[in-house]
C-alpha cells in the first residue's frame, strides 16, 4: 500500500512529544558564543540626533556595540523595494526600530546594556492611521486597479444601491517561537546561519549584502520553525543578518534572541484595511455592480504590502460573480512596524468586505443571507469569469452549498434561532454560512518554482531536501510520502533533512499555501528521473534473455521495497536495496535534482488581467454564535465546515490545517485586537494583553469534513493546497455576529460592526441598535 493518501503522523511527531525536537534556541551553545539583541528607537518618527553607547559598553559582559556605520556591506535592504535599514542611520520610522546592535556574553548583560543605550531623537510628526495617511497623501507605491464592465452605469441605473465603510483590524502572527538566528563564522568570510525562516534564500541574499560577500559565501539552514504563519517570510531576515553581522565582526558564533514582547513590538502584522464600497443589486439580491476602494496600512516600509494588497484585490469577489466591478487599492505608509505576510496574505480582508456587503443586502431585503450567497455564486458553465479574467474551473462551490446546509441542518436551526431571538431578552443567537474561493499560486510568477535533491544510499535508504521549510504544516511529511511512493519503498526508508541553501539554491518562500504543491512536485520530478535511470539498469539485472525474457525498462516496477519485471513479478524481482547496491558497483548515478515550475500562471499587474492561479481551493463554513445582550460577550456554539481538499496526500494533516486555520481566522475576527498608544507603542505585546484563541474558545460543536473531489487534474496527485483557505472561513463567525445583531436592528437599519468583533465592539453595536442610532459608526484605530 502506498503512503500517499494515508494518515501518516507528522514527520517530527515523536520528537515533538518527547521534547527531543531541536529548535534553534535548543541548539547547544557553540564554543565562544555571544548573544545578540538590539536597542531601538524611542519614538515613532524622528531624526536621530545622537547615539550614546558609552554606558552600554561598560556593562559587565557586554562585548561590543555596533551602529549603522559598522555595517560591512549594505545597510539598506528589502524583499521587493530596498527601503529598510538594518540599523537606522538618520531617520527612525517606528517605535523600537533597531538602532544599536549589542553583543554580550549573557542575556542578562544584553538586557542591562539595552537600557543603558541613549538614543536622542528630534521627533517628527508621525502617522498612525489609514485616515491620517490618506489625508497626508502618505502612500507606498502607486495605486492599483482591477476593473471589468460599466461600474458607473450599473451603479446609477440600479434600483437598489448603497455605500459603506468597513474597518478591518490587523493580527499578530504570534508564532510561539520568537524570531531567532544562530550565526557561525567560517573560513575566508564564509558564514553559516541557522534561521527560523520561511525563506532561507532571501535570508541568504540579505546576509550577503549586509556582510558585503557573494551569495555563495553564505549558507542559511532552517530545520524547523516554532510557527511561522507568514511572520517569518521576510521578517526573519533582519534578525539573521544581525546575528551574521556580529559573528562576522567578532569572529565568534552569535545568537540573536529577543523576548516575545520585543518580537511583538517590533515586527509586522496582518495589514489593517479600510474598505470604502458602493454596491448595486437587483430585487433578488444579485449584485450587479461593486466599486471598492481598498486602503491597507503597510506600516513604515513596503515589505510585501504591494503583493498583499494585490491578493486582497484578487479576492474582492470571493465566491461571487460580479459583472461590473472596480477594485482600486493603495498601501498607506504609517509609522508602525512594517506590516507583512500573515496566512491568507490579504485574501481574508478582501473576502471580509464582500461578505459584509452580502449581509447588508440580506438585511435590506429581509432575505436570509444564505440565499443571497447562492444567487451570487460563481456558476459552473456561465457566470464563471473572475474580474481579472481567469475562468473558475473545477468549481465546487455549488456542491458545497448543496451539501453543507443539509449536514449542518441549516433550515431547522434557522427556525430555532428565529424563535429563540423572538423570546430571549438576555441573549441573541446568530448563524451564518460563508464560502471561500482561494487562489493557489504566488501572484508573482517567478516564485512559482522549486527544486529538490534526492539522494539514494547504498543500503537503499533515501535522503531528500527541498526548499520547503517546515513550520508544522507537514510539508516534510508529504514530501516523504511522495518520494516513498515514487520509488516504491517504505515511508520509513525516506528522511527529509533541513532546508539549506547549499543543497537547494534560489528557493521560493514557503508561503502562499504552495509549499507541498511546489516542493513535492520538484521531489517527484527527481524521483521520476531516478526511476527511469534505475529501470534501465534493473532491466539488465532482472532479465538477461534467459527463459525468453529480454530486459525491458518499461516493464520494471518499483513497489513495496522491491523492483520487479511485471511480466514475471514473482521470479524476476529483487529488493530495492540490492538493486541500489549493484547499481552503485556498476557506477550508476544515484542522486538527482528535481525541478518544477507551475505551468500556465501569469498575471499582468498593469492591466489587472491574467491567470494568476493554477487552481482555486473551495470551502464553506457555517458558524453559530451566542451573544450576551448585556455584556457583548460572545461564544461560538457550533461550526460545520466542509472543505474541498481534492484528493488529500495526508488527510490527517490536512484536517489539522483546516481546523487550525479556522481557529486562527476566528481569532482574527473576534478576540485579537491590537492596541497602540497615542505614541505608536504597541500595548498588546504579550499573551496577557493580546488574546489569541485558547482551548475554551474552540467551538463547542466543531464538525470538519473533507469533500471528495477527484477532478482537480492540474495539481499534484489531484490534491489541493489547504494552508490558507480555511483561515478565510473564520469570517463566518464574524458574519454570524452580524446576523445576530440584525435580529434587533430596527426595520430598514443595518447593524454596523468593525472587525474584530470583540465584546466591546459587539456591545457598542448592540447599544447603537437599541438606541436606534445604527448609522452612527464609532471610529476605531
Amino acid at each position: 500500500m502506498g503512503a500517499i493518501g494515508q494518515n501518516i503522523p507528522h514527520d517530527s511527531a515523536r520528537g515533538h512529544v518527547s521534547g527531543e525536537s531541536v529548535f534553534i534556541d535548543d541548539m547547544l551553545p557553540a564554543r565562544n558564543e555571544v548573544f545578540v539583541d538590539f536597542a531601538g528607537s524611542p519614538v515613532a518618527h524622528g531624526e536621530i540626533v545622537s547615539i550614546d553607547t558609552s554606558e552600554a559598553i561598560k556593562v559587565p559582559g557586554v562585548v561590543a556595540v555596533f551602529t549603522h556605520p559598522d555595517v560591512p556591506g549594505h545597510n539598506v535592504f528589502g524583499p521587493v523595494v530596498k527601503d529598510e535599514e538594518l540599523l537606522a542611520a538618520k531617520e527612525v520610522v517606528f517605535v523600537g526600530q533597531p538602532v544599536v546592535l549589542i553583543a554580550a556574553e549573557s542575556r542578562g548583560a544584553l538586557c542591562a546594556a539595552k537600557k543603558a543605550v541613549k538614543i536622542s531623537v528630534k521627533a517628527l510628526s508621525p502617522i498612525f492611521t489609514i485616515d491620517d495617511a490618506i489625508a497626508k497623501d502618505s502612500f507606498l507605491g502607486p495605486p492599483r486597479k482591477i476593473e471589468r464592465g460599466d461600474v458607473a452605469g450599473a451603479l446609477t441605473s440600479a434600483k437598489h444601491s448603497f455605500q459603506g465603510t468597513l474597518v478591518i483590524g490587523g493580527q499578530e502572527q504570534f508564532y510561539l517561537e520568537s524570531q531567532i538566528a544562530l550565526a557561525l563564522p567560517g573560513e575566508r568570510g564564509q558564514m553559516t546561519v541557522h534561521s527560523s525562516t520561511q525563506h532561507p534564500t532571501e535570508c541568504q541574499s540579505i546576509i550577503s549584502e549586509v556582510l558585503g560577500v557573494p551569495f555563495n559565501h553564505v549558507t542559511v539552514i532552517c530545520k524547523r520553525m516554532g510557527g511561522g504563519f507568514g511572520g517569518k517570510e521576510t521578517q526573519a531576515a533582519g534578525p539573521a543578518a544581525m546575528a551574521a553581522m556580529v559573528a562576522s565582526k567578532l569572529r565568534r558564533p552569535a545568537r540573536f534572541f529577543i523576548s516575545k514582547d520585543d518580537d511583538m513590538r517590533t515586527t509586522g502584522k496582518r495589514h489593517p484595511f479600510k474598505m470604502i464600497y458602493r454596491v448595486a443589486h437587483d430585487d433578488r439580491g444579485v449584485i450587479t455592480a461593486l466599486d471598492v476602494q481598498m486602503f491597507s496600512d503597510g506600516g513604515c516600509t513596503m515589505d510585501l504590502s504591494y503583493s498583499i494588497l494585490e491578493r486582497a484585490m484578487l479576492h474582492a469577489d470571493n465566491a461571487y460573480f460580479i459583472p461590473n466591478i472596480r477594485i482600486t487599492g493603495r498601501v498607506c505608509k504609517t509609522n508602525l512596524p512594517s506590516n507583512t505576510a500573515f496566512r491568507g496574505f490579504g485574501g481574508p480582508q478582501g473576502v471580509c468586505n464582500v461578505e459584509n456587503i452580502i449581509e447588508e443586502i440580506a438585511a435590506r431585503l429581509g432575505i436570509d443571507a444564505i440565499e443571497i450567497r447562492k444567487r451570487n455564486l460563481y456558476g459552473v458553465d456561465d457566470r464563471n469569469t473572475t474580474p481579472y479574467g481567469q475562468i473558475v474551473r473545477n468549481n465546487m462551490l455549488p456542491k458545497l452549498f448543496d451539501e453543507l446546509p443539509r449536514s449542518a441542518e441549516y433550515q431547522r436551526r434557522r427556525a430555532e434561532i428565529d424563535q429563540f431571538n423572538r423570546t430571549s431578552k438576555t441573549q441573541l443567537r446568530g448563524m451564518s454560512l460563508t464560502p471561500v474561493k482561494f487562489g493557489i499560486s504566488f501572484t508573482k510568477k517567478t516564485l512559482n518554482q522549486a527544486n529538490a535533491l534526492v539522494n539514494i544510499y547504498t543500503d537503499g535508504t533515501v535522503m531528500v531536501s527541498t526548499g520547503g521549510t517546515e513550520m508544522g504544516q507537514g510539508v516534510n511529511t508529504r514530501v516523504r510520502q511522495i518520494v516513498a511512493d515514487e520509488l516504491g519503498i517504505p515511508y520509513d526508508s525516506v528522511i527529509v533533512t533541513a532546508t539549506s541553501t547549499d543543497k537547494n539554491n534560489n528557493t521560493s518562500p514557503t508561503a502562499a499555501s504552495s509549499g507541498t504543491d511546489l516542493n513535492g512536485a520538484a521531489a517527484r520530478d527527481a524521483c521520476v528521473k531516478l526511476r527511469e535511470r534505475l529501470a534501465d539498469y534493473a532491466a539488465t539485472q532482472l532479465c538477461t534473455g534467459e527463459g525468453g525474457l529480454n530486459g525491458s525498462p518499461s516493464s520494471v516496477v518499483f513497489r513495496d521495497g522491491f523492483v520487479f519485471d511485471d511480466r514475471a513479478p514473482n521470479d524476476r524481482r529483487m529488493r530495492f536495496a540490492d538493486l541500489i547496491c549493484r547499481a552503485y558497483i556498476d557506477r550508476v548515478n544515484l542522486g538527482e535534482r528535481g525541478f518544477y515550475a507551475t505551468p500556465g500562471v501569469d498575471f499582468n499587474r498593469e492591466t489587472g488581467q491574467g491567470h494568476p492561479f493554477l487552481y482555486f481551493t473551495n470551502g464553506v463554513a457555517c458558524s453559530e454564535v451566542l451573544i450576551d445582550r448585556f455584556t457583548g460577550e460572545m461564544r461560538v456554539a457550533r461550526v460545520d465546515l466542509l472543505m474541498d481538499a481534492g484528493q488529500p496526500i495526508n488527510p490527517g494533516i490536512d484536517r489539522g490545517q483546516i481546523t487550525g486555520g479556522f481557529i486562527q481566522g476566528m481569532g482574527w475576527v473576534t478576540t485579537e485586537e491590537l492596541k497602540w498608544s497615542l505614541n505608536g507603542e504597541l500595548w498588546s505585546h504579550s499573551p496577557t494583553t493580546y488574546k489569541i484563541p485558547n482551548i475554551s474558545d474552540v467551538p463547542e460543536i466543531f464538525n470538519v469534513e473533507l469533500l471528495h473531489n477527484p477532478d482537480n487534474a492540474v495539481s499534484l496527485y489531484r490534491s489541493k493546497a489547504l494552508g490558507e483557505p480555511p483561515l478565510l472561513l473564520g469570517v463566518s463567525v464574524w458574519t454570524a455576529v452580524k446576523n445576530a445583531l440584525s435580529y434587533i436592528a430596527p426595520a430598514g437599519e443595518v447593524a454596523t460592526l468593525d472587525l474584530p468583533a470583540t465584546p466591546e465592539q459587539i456591545l457598542m453595536s448592540l447599544t447603537r441598535l437599541v438606541r436606534g442610532g445604527a448609522s452612527k459608526v464609532v471610529a476605531r484605530r
Binding site: S18, L176, S686, N694
Partner: protein, 210 residues
C-alpha cells in the same frame, strides 16, 4: 489556571532565600513581608548576587548546578541542564509552554525560581517517557496528530498527562480545564481533546505504562 501549584505552599526558607528577586505577585510580596518580620536573624541570610550551588532532583536524578539565585527553573533546565524540551515563550506564566511538574503538580517553570524547586520532585517532558516507551498521552498525541509546529507540545502534554495522574476518567471539560492555560497558535486544540481522552482510555485498559 486553577490547576497550577499554589506557590504559597513552598517552604518559607526556600522562599526567603529567593525573596530578593522573587516578587512575582502581590500575594507573594505580602507573604514575604510577613515572613521576613517573623524570621529570626540567622536565617535572614541573603544569597546572591553571584552564583550559588544548588541541587535539584530532575526526573529522579540529583543534579548539581551553579546558578544565579534569580534564575528561573525554566532557565536552569534549558541552559544549565541542557534539557531543552521545556520551552520559554511569554516568560510570564501566560502561555504554559514551560509547564513542568513539581511534586506532582503542574507549574510554569518560567515563574518558578530554581532555588524554590530544591528538595522537590521535578518532572520534565524528558522524564515522561520510560526509556523508549512513551507515556500514553505522548502516544496518543502522535496518533491523533495533536501537534503541528511542536513548540507548545511539551507544555501541553505535561498538562494533559498531569490531569490523567489526578483523574483517571476525565471528561472533555476536565481536559479543557487542565490545559486552559496552554496556548497553541496552530490551533490543535480539538486534537488535544481527542488525544487526551484516548490516552485516558488506553491507561484504563492497562495498555499504558504510567
Amino acid at each position: 489556571m486553577s490547576n497550577r501549584t499554589d506557590r504559597g505552599g513552598l517552604s518559607r526558607r526556600g522562599f526567603l532565600k529567593g525573596a530578593g528577586v522573587a516578587a512575582a505577585t502581590t500575594a507573594l510580596l505580602d507573604r514575604s513581608v510577613e515572613a521576613l518580620a517573623q524570621e529570626n536573624k540567622e536565617s535572614r541570610s541573603v544569597v546572591g548576587p553571584g552564583a550559588v550551588a544548588i541541587t535539584l532532583k530532575v526526573n529522579g536524578q540529583h543534579k548539581d548546578f551553579q546558578i544565579e539565585p534569580s534564575a528561573t527553573l525554566a532557565e536552569v533546565l534549558r541552559v544549565h541542564a541542557d534539557m531543552t524540551g521545556t520551552k520559554i515563550v511569554c516568560d510570564r506564566g501566560s502561555c504554559s509552554a514551560c509547564t513542568v511538574w513539581i511534586d506532582g503538580k503542574t507549574v510554569c517553570s518560567c515563574m518558578t525560581l530554581a532555588m524554590d524547586a530544591r528538595g522537590r520532585e521535578i518532572k520534565t517532558i524528558e522524564g515522561l517517557a520510560q526509556g523508549e516507551h512513551l507515556h500514553p498521552v505522548q502516544e496518543q498525541f502522535i496518533e491523533h496528530d495533536a501537534m503541528q509546529c511542536g513548540f507548545c507540545t511539551p507544555g501541553m502534554i505535561m498538562s494533559c498527562a498531569n490531569l490523567l495522574e489526578r483523574n483517571k476518567q476525565p471528561t472533555l471539560d476536565d481536559v479543557k480545564q487542565a490545559c486552559s492555560g496552554n496556548l497553541c497558535r496552530c490551533g490543535t486544540y480539538p486534537r488535544v481533546f481527542e488525544a487526551t481522552l484516548a490516552a485516558a482510555k488506553q491507561m484504563k485498559g492497562g495498555n499504558g505504562n504510567a
